[in-house]
């Protein structure tokens, strides 16, 4: 499993880690029952805060995605990942068709992305990011670039 975190993004780091681990499970990169790297290993490999890694693991445990066996480490929970993989494949197929339609109608890549994100936020109704107001809304756009340095 390859973990990568964008530290300078506005998205909380523990949330990024959770999403990547869930993605790794969904795509089969790690399977049910397999052990996840230790908190210390992740923290050292990515040179990031161990408490933040621990928070991601805690939240994943609460969601039932992983099991923490004390003294042994964290393991991917035994859920039906196979079924999930099939569902993802189906969803991807529908999305491919939607993208193709958009492209035929002449939408650019950023425009497609905006449509997707807008629709997604409409469905998920994530209060902090769902936006009202007329025309041209973008919700949940990532702010900031990488490699920022403070000038002084």
């Amino acid at each position: 499993m390859h973990l990568r975190v964008s530290f300078s993004s506005g998205v909380p780091i523990y949330v990024q880690l959770m999403e990547q681990i869930k993605h790794a499970v969904e795509t089969g990169a790690v399977r049910a029952g397999e052990q996840l790297p230790t908190i210390r290993k992740v923290a050292e490999d990515l040179a990031m805060n161990p408490n933040t890694v621990a928070r991601a693991y805690r939240e994943l445990e609460r969601e039932g995605a992983i099991e923490v066996r004390h003294g042994l480490g964290a393991f991917v929970a035994d859920v039906e990942t196979g079924a999930k993989t099939t569902v993802i494949a189906e969803a991807a197929e529908s999305l491919r068709r939607a993208i193709a339609t958009g492209a035929i109608l002449g939408l650019s890549e950023p425009e497609l992305r905006r449509v997707f994100e807008k629709e997604l936020s409409r469905v998920t109704g994530d209060g902090s990011q769902a936006v009202s107001g007329a025309g041209g809304n973008r919700a949940g756009t990532k702010a900031g670039g990488s490699g920022e340095r403070s000038s002084d």
């Binding site: 530290f7 300078s8 993004s9 506005g10 998205v11 909380p12 780091i13 523990y14 949330v15 908190i39 210390r40 923290a43 050292e44 990515l46 040179a47 990031m48 805060n49 161990p50 408490n51 933040t52 928070r55 209060g127 902090s128 990011q129 769902a130 936006v131 009202s132 107001g133 007329a134 025309g135 041209g136 809304n137 973008r138 919700a139 949940g140 756009t141 990532k142 702010a143 900031g144 490699g147 920022e148 340095r149 403070s150 002084d152």
Partner: protein, 297 residues
């Protein structure tokens, strides 16, 4: 066990008639990697020197691992548990790396040979080279190694990565992550390298003009704060300043931007009375929080 590693109340310090710290409130939880941020002259180094007993405070309270720092003896006792990396990173110029390590080791009964060897290997420091012949980065890494290996419960560092190249910075951050994860050491450091703070810290405190302007768990700050950007069909109305729950309003032509951190949704709802053409809500980076919270930023 639950007391904070560092706690200050109303901490104040002036140099002649110039106030450097004006009632600083700090709470550094045990086991955290705590980023202490601010512009040059904001009071960071003064705070660190007060914590280390190098300077005397004019007023306020200071506790380290729950112990009040109100006597010379308490200060000395606390110093035994703290590894300090100062800004100027002074070392003895006539020693080699190996001599410097042996010399320092002799003062600390709790010296950790395993950590010494581990970080020596990680930093690839040449044992036989004399201190003046080290690059600035290597000198800094040696200082950090000396502070880490003494078996301290708390590391206090003033701009630890200033002058390090990106590879060396990453090595130091890896060592810090390892030290916090494996040894439960609390790390408190000042910096204005926001990217490294975002990478390694779980807690941050931003000070300006000798006072705290923002602190908290970094990921929580990122979850709470949102930038709201409004676009109007004519100049952005000045009455926006009356919106409740917003900060750092800026108007530029037809656009207005502001920060909100409590109940973002109802702030967004309230903006509707100004009939904006569009409303956008963005996550906020540490850099943006920094720029919005410091004077003149």
């Amino acid at each position: 066990m639950n007391e904070a590693a560092i706690e200050t109340h109303g901490l104040s310090k002036s140099y002649r008639d110039k106030a450097a710290l004006r009632g600083l409130e700090l709470n550094v939880p045990r086991g955290s990697i705590y980023g202490f941020l601010g512009r040059n002259g904001a009071g960071k180094t003064t705070t660190l020197k007060l914590l280390m007993g190098i300077l005397r405070r004019d007023a306020g309270e200071m506790r380290i691992f729950g112990e009040a720092m109100d006597s010379e003896a308490a200060q000395v006792e606390a110093r035994r548990r703290i590894g300090f990396v100062s800004e100027d990173k002074e070392l003895y110029p006539f020693m080699t790396v190996g001599q410097m390590i042996r010399f320092t080791r002799s003062f600390f009964p709790g010296w950790r040979r395993d950590l010494e060897e581990k970080y020596l290997e990680l930093f690839r420091l040449p044992l036989n080279r004399s201190v003046p012949k080290l690059s600035k980065g290597m000198r800094t890494q040696l200082m950090i190694l000396l502070a880490m290996a003494r078996g301290a419960d708390l590391l206090v560092m003033d701009e630890p990565t200033s002058g390090l190249d990106p590879i060396m910075t990453e090595e130091v951050l890896q060592a810090l992550a390892d030290l916090a994860a494996g040894e439960g050491v609390t790390i408190f450091f000042s910096s204005h390298q926001l990217t490294e703070v975002e990478q390694i810290c779980d807690h941050v405190c931003l000070i300006d003009d000798g006072q705290k302007v923002l602190d908290g768990v970094l990921d929580d700050l990122k979850s709470q704060y949102r930038r709201i950007v409004l676009v109007f069909d004519s100049a952005a109305p000045s009455a926006l300043a009356g919106l409740k729950g917003i900060d750092h309003l800026r108007r530029a032509g037809r656009t207005a931007s502001m920060l909100a951190h409590v109940d973002v949704e109802s702030v967004v709802a309230c903006t509707q009375e100004f009939a904006p053409l569009s409303v956008e809500v963005h996550p906020v980076t540490l850099k943006e929080l920094f720029m919005d919270h410091v004077r003149g930023g």
